[in-house]
Symmetry: C2
């Protein structure tokens, strides 16, 4: 993964991508949000090599978005769960999925929909809002130095 | 960029990443949302090689998230603007930026804030909501086949 020159201002987007921005990491996280937790299940579902899977999981554990926990109380075998830090990527993934559903299927029906578990109804499109709840378009927002 | 095996179900996240998932593409898009449009400005701001910048811009134009437009009516020189498809990545970028601000600065103050242009007030945290407006956590949502 390439990095911005060290003299550039630190950027939350560059820092985030440095944690989980590799293609396979993003795809593994997608599976985590679908409830996959076990090494073997990631491997079977994704057809990823064991070496690559191990490297990506280790990095995400090290950087704090996944944690290893025993598969049952007292068990020796462990599986992978999202930490609070990892769970908060939910919004990014839902927004990315909605964008992909809208723009990358060109007339085909997307294979899946994200629904509210309780009601089975599709979730609302994720949007940027002001503190008072107004929907904000790109031209309505700007970046300011702190 | 690695791909999922062809026999795997098409996925909006994999398809999206295939369009703009390379590290430099994401960083270029970040600059687009900050109003950068000219080749030379991307180059100067990012310290990226001309070859890489050209390749990334060409791909994003080809895949429909950027467009080349004359820098002034009738001018021969062109610059790069987000298409409607590109602009709709705004939500993904704001969500990613907010996550990075919260989780990757460990006590330091993040360098920038996203504010509403009109009021100068910081924007609300991007969240996933039900159609009726309820905030949904990862455990409140699920993926269903269409």
């Amino acid at each position: 993964m390439k990095r911005l020159p060290m003299n550039k201002q630190p950027c939350p987007i560059a820092r985030s991508l440095d944690i989980f921005g590799e293609w396979w990491s993003l795809i593994i996280l997608r599976e985590c949000f679908s409830g996959v937790t076990r090494f073997d299940d990631f491997q079977k579902t994704l057809g990823i090599s064991k070496n690559t899977l191990t490297a990506r999981l280790n990095k995400m554990v090290e950087r704090g978005i996944l944690k290893r926990v025993p598969i049952a109380p007292g068990a020796l075998r462990e599986h992978y769960k999202l930490t609070e830090m990892g769970k908060e990527l939910h919004t990014v993934f839902i927004a990315l999925r909605q964008w992909g559903d809208k723009w990358t299927f060109e007339g085909e029906t997307p294979p899946n929909a994200v629904v509210e578990r309780k009601s089975g109804r599709v979730v609302a499109p994720v949007v940027v809002r002001s503190l008072s709840g107004r929907v904000l378009k790109p031209r309505d927002t700007m970046l300011v130095k702190l």
